[in-house]
Symmetry: C3
Subunit: 281 residues, 3 copies
């Protein structure tokens, strides 16, 4: 399956990792071209079991992904709607679709991510940012709107209410260290470290079975939207979704045959074991 023909990014595949590199005009504006590309990308990813991880990065030395296109924003409706009439916005629909692709998604943030650009980062599974290069801002409150590409919804799923409210109400830039302290990103890294860190993580995850990656990911998202008793049942559902398609039983047989549970030396080396069994299919 070829990942070609996009206008706003290029995509290159290396074993199970797809690296998507935004490169669109001077600032990687998030407009209809990018939404169309992202929607097309998601459609392909949903049917692809060879790609296990997607890394989103930028060719632009200063901007990861820019905010939503002001050329679209200036024509927004100014008519209030009722709760029932409110429908998903294009940006929301595309980012939610990206958020739930079966692959693990990583935002590798080496430049600005503001407004819709930051909302896109929040729709990825994980976020790593380069010190000195990364800044994020949700400026919407100052423009007269709110972060409506999932940003208002996803912010409090990443950080506590108080910090979510400060980020969204202050409309100021946060750097990588503040982002790490507040919890919007997983980790802040040095600019010369982030490449290897993300690469190692992506390649590691890409060795794991596609169906267990998907089960893990969907379950974590389901979990916070359900009371614990329903969440636990969803775990059981996803367990059998996974075991029906992965070599789980064979791998546990191998682990059992090695006498894993009676041997402290084997227990010390779980990190090796989990990688060793990746060739058991």
């Amino acid at each position: 399956m070829a990942y070609e023909g996009y206008t706003t990014f290029t995509a290159s595949q290396d074993e199970g990792v797809l690296t998507v590199t935004f490169d669109f005009g001077s600032v990687n504006v998030q407009g209809q071209e990018m939404l169309s590309d992202l929607n097309g990308l998601a459609m392909r990813l949903e049917r692809d079991r060879d790609i296990k991880v997607v890394v989103f990065q930028s060719a632009n030395p200063e901007i990861w992904v820019c905010h939503y296109d002001t050329n679209l924003l200036k024509d927004m409706s100014t008519e209030a709607v009722s709760r029932e009439e409110a429908k998903l916005l294009d940006l929301q629909a595309v980012l939610e679709r990206i958020s739930k692709v079966p692959q693990a998604t990583i935002a590798k943030l080496e430049g600005f991510a503001r407004g819709g650009g930051h909302e896109f980062a929040l729709a990825c599974d994980m976020r790593f940012a380069a010190r000195g290069k990364y800044k994020f801002m949700q400026m919407e409150v100052g423009m007269g709107i709110l972060p409506c590409g999932g940003g208002a919804s996803r912010m409090a799923r990443q950080v506590g209410l108080g910090r979510a409210l400060e980020i969204i109400l202050s409309a100021r830039d946060f750097d990588a260290d503040e982002a790490e302290a507040y919890g919007t990103i997983n980790k802040a890294l040095e600019p010369d470290e982030i490449g290897e860190y993300v690469d190692t993580l992506a390649k590691r995850i890409a060795k794991f079975p596609a169906e267990s990656i998907n089960a893990c990911k969907q379950m974590v998202y389901e979990s916070i939207d359900k009371p614990i008793d329903e969440a636990l049942k969803a775990e059981a559902y996803w367990l059998y979704q996974a075991t029906s398609k992965t070599p789980a039983v064979k791998r546990f047989q191998i682990a059992d045959d090695q006498g894993l549970e009676h041997d402290i030396e084997n227990q010390r080396n779980w990190n090796k074991l989990v990688m060793d069994v990746q060739n058991i299919n």
Copy 2:
């Protein structure tokens, strides 16, 4: 609209910022007078679009807001009720009303906040605390009750379950640095820095449109109470609530006219841009 006639605090207005200074007896006890004042304050704030931000501080050098009045607590009912019979308590009702006022609310914590006093802080949108002066405690478990001014409910919306449970079950004092590490406050600040930090933040937010402040705030609170698909629809609802009343379209037109999306120099200066457009109405 005058913010006068309160017994337990004074309120002074400086442009869009209302500073509420608790000054009631020797310890700022949280009794019927304070609840009555806070309820009256909320009622006014709900109809006021000129005030954008409320800062809660204390005139008492050691206590921000004291715990709930023991004179009321000693007369509590000792009769268990059914789930159906359980009704909102006065403290819960008032703090929930304060929590949802259309303004951004900031707790500027330069003294003790224990029991109901800390629950009041948790009902504010943001919390900043002075090192060496701030301490918080939820002592309820040791008194034979639980934090029932929203504290048990709001704690796990600020920090993870494990830390929420430790705070509530240990009934011990936490200082500003521990509060920051555990995430109950946004930031710990030096005593000589907190004034300017809060002032700068409050004045910044106060420049933004009242309706987008309200939309942002209500949406963040809604978000964690709803599954993601419903939360996203709520964002769309609040978007048009905002655009129908704010100069959003004009501001994005200005941004677009400046060629924002084709100019890296403009992108670098988003912080300036977001403040510059505040005079476009």
Copy 3:
């Protein structure tokens, strides 16, 4: 009530603290014997109002609790089930029961906790880990399944989505400091400090009334599973559950008699007061 006859751990009672020490084979495997013991333990704890706190530790110098028994995992069903057919797994049911016992539960982590072992730690109310000795890993994704002992469900209730997804998708070891930074544990402590830290905390909580410990704990868990308006009503319900069985009214009478709310000196000494009233019943 005697806590005896267990195969996989011993339990010793010191006033209100029950210390459960896992000591089963070479690696403390989490198999049917341990589940059976834990289920039996929970059954007793549910009826015991003398034990207020349970500390879970290990006699094994390297392993706290091992992962789920591979001898059971290798025989897992490989048939997908529908959402309706999905039923609680044994590990889920037992850990959920442990999670909701009326006592405060503390995981004292001085060795590895991987897979189901870490899921057991997540089912405890609080977690403290020893630097240099503790490591945790959720390796399930690499084995072809997902953390299905409540781990996928409970992870995002402890940390934000991004870090929960990294932990579960990377299947790597995290040490005590990373665990603290990501928020899966309450605190990382030095190996020679953790004993006293946990002991002090456990003894402190054990002085408090059983019914208020239970009310606090159940309410925090309820809180994140309910919208705020329902959560607040649950607080009111638990308040009267507590006051109907604890000496709360008498204790607040004492506090009131001491003129607590008019005396700054008394306010400074809340930590002393909360312990002093523990003999008022």
